[in-house]
Amino acid sequence: MGTSAFDAVIPVICVTLAGLVVLLAESFRKKQERMPLGGLALIGLIGAVIACVLLWDRNATSFGMVTADNYALFVNLIILTVGILTVVFSQHTVERDGLPAGEYYALLLFAIVGMMLMVQATDLLLVFLALETMSIAVYVLTGIRFNDARGTEAAFKYFLLGAFASAFLLYGIAFLFGVTGTTSLDGIGTVVAAQSMSGNPMILAAIALLIVGFGFKVGVVPFHQWSPDAYEGAPALVTGFMSTGVKAAAMAAFARIFLSSLEPMITDWAPVLWGVAAITMILGTVVGVAQTNLKRMLAYSSIAHAGYLLVGIVAGNEVGKAAILFYLAAYALTNVAGFAIIGLLGTKAAPNDDLRDYAGLWHTHPALAGLMTIVLLSLGGFPPTAGFIAKWYIFSAAVGSGYYWLAIIGFLSSVVSVFFYLRIVVMMFMTERDARPVPLPVAASAMAGLAVTVAAILYLGILPSRVIDLAAASISTVF
């Protein structure tokens, strides 16, 4: 296979084409005719996965602003996995809830295009464009349910605050351009490394603005206000998609910018992120305990998880960098599975996402209750699940860089978080079901997808070394 100027964007092209084909197919669909649109989306996503695997170790670059280094490919594989799982779980739900299938899958694919490009971008201009592509698609997916007041409100809130955060990011990019005269990440890195910029107020302002912009997308305190509402109002599967895909893409771009281009300024931004990570872990956990809606609870849990991820960036050492990637993989699998279970249990009439709705789930859906338990244990960080290993690596990275307090705060907050995860488990197994209609049967394909996901969570928890080594190798080639 020869190399060409397009190599680095082949995975993105696969997904884009799939999105266009889905849109076209939908426009030729007659009313009431059924089309395997989800299947078309899957073909594109699997094609992209194959392209990512083939591009491994080739360090392809295209157009001077897209790279396919192993770091980008690793995160892209996480994002594509999230996408594939979301499509598999959606097949049944899209029909049940009467969502517009063509638009749903097309927007999902365009959001994935944005995410992948954001991870692969080596130019701030492209980072911004990709971020907007992803965001706009996700805003609409949040409010895609017909006549659903909560969903519409959530989408609107997410959109307004998201536009505001994008403005901050753009302002930061403009300042960075003003100081360095370039938007290319390599160029910025060279200029920042060549000149001591430590006292330069303009670059400090740029860094602060970038932290606000990315902090919003990643959902860290104090930029988290939108996420419980958006996560609760969106259809559960979309929530699973946006709480993992959006977070993974934003985190990856954040890490690339801060750990490569702005690495010389680490003494300036590390204390800020230290504080943000600490409050995020504490607030996400403490407020999460008080929630009675399962989606809100998982929203706060994902805020806390964003805090753990930031710890990896603050640590900034080799262990920390590998830990970020491993944590993203573990968190993505776990959260997608968790929200998928919530989505599968809902009906068109009622979302069934209250904590009380899970009473006695063991008696009606033993398999789902069992899978949910493993997911919750992984979120809480119990061995032998992926969540345990991921937290272990993050905290050991923090200790390795001398951030003992951050590790202690992280450890304590995850102990507290165990309380609310276990509360759900207790609810599922130890309470009797009151007189409520038995939920609908779950599609076999969704069940199979869930089983595979949970098996992957256990695999990452029991035999993590392969993936850890892969993560460490992929990130060490980049920065």
């Binding site: 964007v9 490009l117 492209l126 464009l129 370039t182």
Partner: protein, 175 residues
């Protein structure tokens, strides 16, 4: 003060005052018109920065097309004044305490930005690579379809996603 600086102060003041009027107006129609004034000020600044293309585009697209849309929406809604004063006081963020805190934070942010901008020496002296100035339409076109070709293509996906999204959100009433 040279004529350049006079013009800069004039256009800058126009842009700022227009922007202030946008938020200070209780009548949305006046707000839209104030925004047009502000855009004219900005466009003057672009001319002073020797980028006439951006200046013209600012007038044609923003002050022209987008503002007409804005005005249409305002008129269609028949909103002659903000009537949110009653209901939104109930929201916790609209109580005096949070409002004041927000005002303080906004002022602090402004002061910080002004401090950062005035303290930075050697601004505008392209520290990094020096790229040729992009002035004429020809230069813009050349840069757009060479260096930024890929970003330009990505914009098409962005617009397509936005279009599909708008259709999805607007269609819901009929179904």
């Amino acid at each position: 003060m040279g004529s350049d600086q006079l013009l800069f102060v004039g256009f800058g003041a126009l842009a700022l005052l227009g922007a202030l009027a946008v938020v200070a107006q209780p009548n949305p129609v006046y707000s839209v018109i104030a925004l047009i004034v502000s855009f004219f000020g900005l466009s003057g600044l672009y001319v002073l920065l020797e980028s006439p293309f951006v200046a013209v585009v600012q007038i044609i697209i923003y002050a022209g097309a987008i503002m007409v849309l804005f005005l249409f929406v305002v008129m269609l809604l028949n909103a002659t004044r903000e009537d949110g004063s009653e209901w939104d006081r109930a929201h916790p963020y609209y109580r005096p305490g949070p409002m004041r805190l927000g005002a303080v934070l906004a002022v602090l942010f402004g002061v910080q930005m002004i401090w950062a901008l005035t303290r930075t020496v050697g601004l505008g002296v392209g520290v990094g690579e020096t790229r040729p100035a992009v002035e004429s339409v020809r230069d813009v076109g050349r840069v757009l379809f060479t260096d930024y070709m890929f970003a330009f293509e990505v914009t098409s996906i962005l617009i397509l996603a936005a279009m599909v999204g708008a259709v999805v959100l607007a269609r819901r009433r009929e179904e």
